[in-house]
Amino acid sequence: MTRDRLAKISLYGILSAGLLVVVGPFVWMLLSSFKPEAEIRSVPPTWWPSTWTFDNYRTLFDRLDFPQYFTNSVIVAVLVTVGNLLFCSLLGYALAKLDFPGRKALFLTVLGMLMVPGMVTFVPQFVLVSNLGLANSYAGLVLPFLAGPFGVFLMRQFLLAIPDDLIEAARIDGAGEWRIFWRVVLPLCKPALATLGILTFLSSWNNFLWPLVVATTDDKYTLPVALALYSIGQNRMYFGLLLAGAVVVVIPVLIVFLALQKHFMRGIATTGLK
């Protein structure tokens, strides 16, 4: 008994130490964003702000057209996420459950794209988007990210595990293919959709290089671009602004993640990702 309890206590101890190492820095970031510039750089460093100040946030919000950039980020991330959920589940379903010519080739091509280093297509992609007249538009920010190969892979793996009987039964009941997909297949995919949704939202929210280049006027900037603009000067750094900016970027995704984390974890447990 006592040995078991000892084991349990030491386990908690180890886990808590791990948590401290992982979460501690975030707590420090949050606390430090309320410190004046000089205290952030003080030696030795402090944990608790000796003077609380909202100056970093005030400056950040004063200098940024914050509502505009926030709105842009939300619009882009939501559109990209919704698009991926729809298009990837459509193709994932076709690849897993429907037979059509070229299926295997299509899957392998999509899979191959997963391995192409992102940097290599950057310039041609931008030239393309501009030639389509989409520079500096939401369409230009969103379209190239709607067809993500990872989502297809994830949805296909998940759908492979769903028994064919369910679909066949619906077909015998006379349901159309679109209706089957919409009423039978998609509801079963909720955990996978939650997983894909969070991962897509995250990468879109944190994307920097593409919005930087596509947005030619600053009313189309997203949060990460705007923060890069104001936090890093040419010859000096504003540490307080950097920290406050980091907090502002992290908080929204944290909220999304916490709200969906149960579905997300279940999604990972039930997709082919195990």
């Binding site: 950057f122 501009s130 290089l209 006027t217």
Partner: protein, 414 residues
Amino acid sequence: MRKRWLAAVLLVSVAAGCGRGDGGGGDTAQAVKDGKATGEITVWAMGTEGEKLAEFAKAFTAENPEAKVSVTAVPWDSAQQKISSAIAAKQTPDVSMIGTTMQGEIAKTGALDATPTELFRKDAFFPGAWDTTVVDGTPYGIPWYVETRGIYYRKDLAAKAGFPDGPKTWDDLTAMAKALQQKAGAKWGISLQPGKTGSWQSILPFGWSNGASLNTGDKYTFDTPQMAEALAYYQSFFTQKLSPDNLPQGALEPAFVRGEIPMFMSGPWHVGILNEQGAKDKFGIAPMPAKQSSTSFIGGSNLAVFKDAKNRDAAWKFLAWLSKPDVQVKWYQAVNDLPAVQSAWDDPALTADPLLKVFGTQLESAKSPPTFPTWTQLAATFDVEAEKVCVAGADPAAALKAVQSQADSLGTGS
């Protein structure tokens, strides 16, 4: 099928299009129509300039009521990426601020409009600054603001060390750094950048002061005895443990205030930083210590108009307005950017400040690296080699040979 077809088209067009034309350089400037500026002028600018220019430009639109200036701020770190992508996609604004060291590469794409000479007088600007706009003999754009490097030192510690007015010569600089360490009790004698990104801006001034030149005609010349001597001199501060070689970002200023690092080399922006950090009136600035001459680096930013500009004439008129001496002074007062136009320095706003005067004098002779399109890449190579010299004790002459061989294989790119 579709992809094969596209690949074929691309391959054929590439094969058919072998060889290239001249690209940028050698354009002839076109005249700008008289009259007031009209229409929207789109401008990209980085950093503080990007933030403050829109407000500042209201004085221009007051004079030109039918014009509108739209400024988009661009992050410094990604400016080159953004500008070159925009050029590739023909999505440029009318005007962009361009860092002097990017000028060669951007002008060479042929995307910039040649400067209309009837609007701008070459000798109005600092000669080193004007040179940064010239690619293949043609100026593209105008210098907007400038900066140069000098030696910052703590007045109290310098007096203790026996150099109250700062160093005058190379020998002085070494002696002073030693004395600061030994007599004045500082931890270090000086802080010089130990190679790494941008360190060429600190090292080349020593080369220029020693009579070195980076190019003869259209060939790079890194590997010269003058440059080797300068680099060896620069290295000596590290081998004699006078300068730290692993200072993290942001650590310099607090150490200067504490007196641990009593001297460093930097540009005019440090005046503001030091004042903020509580060193106001405690420091002096000396010009580059002389060997054959006292020659510093001239940096800063240019303004250029793109060929694809939708509102070219108004864009040039806006630039002409920005380079008027009184506007340059006002811009200095707004954001502390040093005027690129020489006569602006006669204004009391600038003459009143003794620290500024050091930079003003230095600017008259300060030099810039050649505006070859491959310069940014060679600068990076130079930085890597310089780091080996400063941190790892590599042979300066061998380092310069390495840079030279890279330069020979790359060419100037023009």
